[in-house]
């Protein structure tokens, strides 16, 4: 089974470099799916501060990624999640999945981002241009998006 690459970091990531690292030296990959989560400027947001639980974060993401690698025939998997202060337009999270065929890459990429939203211990605090701040609240639709992967059973 493919061993996923997991990183939790404050620094930005380089999408092209990560894609190249995942496919370098292999001839069995036929498709690579990527998801990049980006800080969006809702309600005149000036910055978003991501807090996480060091230790548990890495464990939780590793478990979700290993689940994806067990469920789909992946030839590569990378998950990078940032923390700290981000401004609108900044990338927050990267999910890369590679496989021989597109369906496994696309499905596992969607699975990973759905589960990251509900099982990785991150919390977002929004800061606004006119002052004030608020913690982002968890959304029921995120729970529903993650739950559909359980309901589907062995969708791979």
């Amino acid at each position: 089974m493919t061993q996923p690459t997991i990183r939790v970091q404050e620094a930005p990531f380089d999408l092209a470099a990560e894609c190249a690292a995942l496919t370098k030296g292999r001839s069995d990959t036929g498709g690579l799916a990527s998801f990049v989560g980006i800080c969006r400027a809702d309600d005149n947001l000036s910055a978003m501060v991501l807090e996480h639980y060091p230790g548990m974060t890495e464990r939780a993401i590793t478990r979700i990624a290993e689940e994806a690698c067990a469920r789909w025939p992946l030839t590569g998997c990378t998950v990078i999640h940032r923390y700290g202060r981000l401004t609108p337009g900044d990338p927050i999270v990267l999910v890369l999945t590679a496989s021989a065929h597109r369906a496994a890459a696309l499905e596992s990429c969607a699975f990973l981002i759905d589960w990251l939203k509900t099982r990785a211990p991150f919390w977002k605090r929004e800061e606004f241009a006119e002052g004030g701040e608020r913690w982002v609240e968890a959304k029921a639709e995120d729970d529903a998006a993650a739950a559909r992967w359980s309901a589907q059973g062995g969708a791979a």
Binding site: E51, Y53, L116, K117, P121, W123, W135, A138
Partner: protein
């Protein structure tokens, strides 16, 4: 027992972590939350509505009836909002 707080739970309690020795009758996550809520006005505010709070024991998500023991690392936080 090491207790950690994150996000608005941390802000309300006023500290990020503390070492506590709850009485022997505190045996699970729900009991620990009730006991922690008596420690200061900040703790009381943080734990006022237990339904808003999630927990982890030794870095694994835990339900209210999960046992807690001396030496455990227990964390309290709002529902997660990563991704």
């Amino acid at each position: 027992m090491r207790v950690l707080y994150f996000a608005w739970v941390r802000q309300k309690v006023g500290i990020a972590e503390e070492e506590v020795s709850p009485p022997a009758e505190v045996g699970d996550v729900a009991g620990l939350m009730a006991w922690l809520g008596t420690r200061s006005p900040g703790h009381a505010a943080a734990f006022a509505d237990a339904r808003q709070i999630r927990a982890a024991v030794n870095q694994e998500f835990a339900s209210p009836d999960q046992p807690v023991r001396p030496g455990d690392e227990v964390a309290f936080f709002p529902p997660v909002t990563g991704g």
